[in-house]
Assembly symmetry: C2
Homo-oligomer: 201 residues x 2
């Protein structure tokens, strides 16, 4: 028998929840930009003007935070992509998705961009637990994107979405790895044309 009662709280009820979310947001940015190994818990907490010790009031481990940061990152990109698709003229949704994903802005903003392009190779080296979380988050992302794709069944639309977004993630990754600005622009522009043609725009 478990008795649930409201305990005494010295902070406003949702204060802890908000701090937790701010940590996740800061983590998503830093993990994607610098990689999880190069970002220390103390960096993240300093971003929020807190000290590192308090971290463990919110998370059991850095690994748990990593999982939530990826979920957050995927939600954020899918928000951005869905918004772009909704603003597109009828029939132009797919083109809007591609142009947004392979835009110079997305390329230049790894921190707030797609976690697949920034972190999927690192997720692949992670224990099964984290990979399952990742897989679930990707599925939710694809379910959300599927409606903009042609295909008889939801399953087919999701498969097309997966192929498009994983392919573009690879191309975006390469654009970021290259040093020459001209090459970068060209890779992105070629990619936009290639994928638009490939999904039959």
């Amino acid at each position: 028998m478990v008795i649930i009662s409201a305990p005494a709280m010295r902070y406003p009820a949702q204060h802890k929840q908000e701090t937790r979310e701010r940590i996740v947001r800061a983590a998503a940015r830093r993990f994607q930009r610098q990689g999880p190994e190069r970002t220390a818990i103390s960096d993240l907490m300093r971003d929020l003007r807190l000290t590192h010790g308090g971290f463990y009031r919110h998370f059991d481990s850095k690994e748990e935070l990593f999982e939530e940061a990826i979920e957050h990152g995927l939600r954020r990109v899918s928000d951005r992509l869905a918004a772009a698709a909704e603003q597109a003229p009828p029939g132009g949704e797919l083109k809007a998705l591609i142009d947004t994903y392979l835009s110079p802005e997305h390329c230049g903003d790894t921190a707030n961009g797609c976690p697949v392009a920034a972190l999927a190779a690192e997720v692949a080296r992670t224990p099964a637990g984290s990979r399952r979380v990742f897989q679930r988050a990707v599925r939710a992302y694809l379910r959300r994107m599927a409606r903009y794709f042609p295909g008889a069944t939801a399953r087919e639309r999701e498969r097309r979405a997966l192929l498009l977004f994983t392919g573009m993630a690879g191309t975006l990754m390469m654009a970021r790895a290259v040093t020459d600005q001209g090459d970068r622009r060209r890779i992105l522009a070629d990619g936009r044309a290639f994928y638009l043609n490939a999904v039959g725009g």
Copy 2:
């Protein structure tokens, strides 16, 4: 005025060179499988039954080794891909490249696979010097693959090769990140069909 004379050597002349190459090969494998941050110099040297102290007789830093490991990895994949294309029936070269790159074997062998799929996101976080080395190695790789692609000029063939290989790298990365074996097989199979169609096979 520099006098070049053969110094006294206590090891056979090419011994040092061979050790250096063995370090690079071990590094490519471990960097790609575990990531550069999770592989210690001492791990690599232990792979060759040596101790970590000797490492600095061969390389100035871990960063220098990272650059060479990526060059080595790209040469190795392009060898493998070129071999597959050469064995293909006439006209089937592109299909052979795609089937080899997106094969379950390549997916399951990150250590000896393509460094773009395994490490490009990490390269993107690296200082400009390493990124230049990467870019040069990728260009050599594309020049070598270009001959299997349609296109009026070498430049055009290389651009198609880049789009294909970066796209497939993204798809391969996702297949590796996912936990479910069935999903993994499906991603690879869908990818093979998608890219074969996209390059007009």
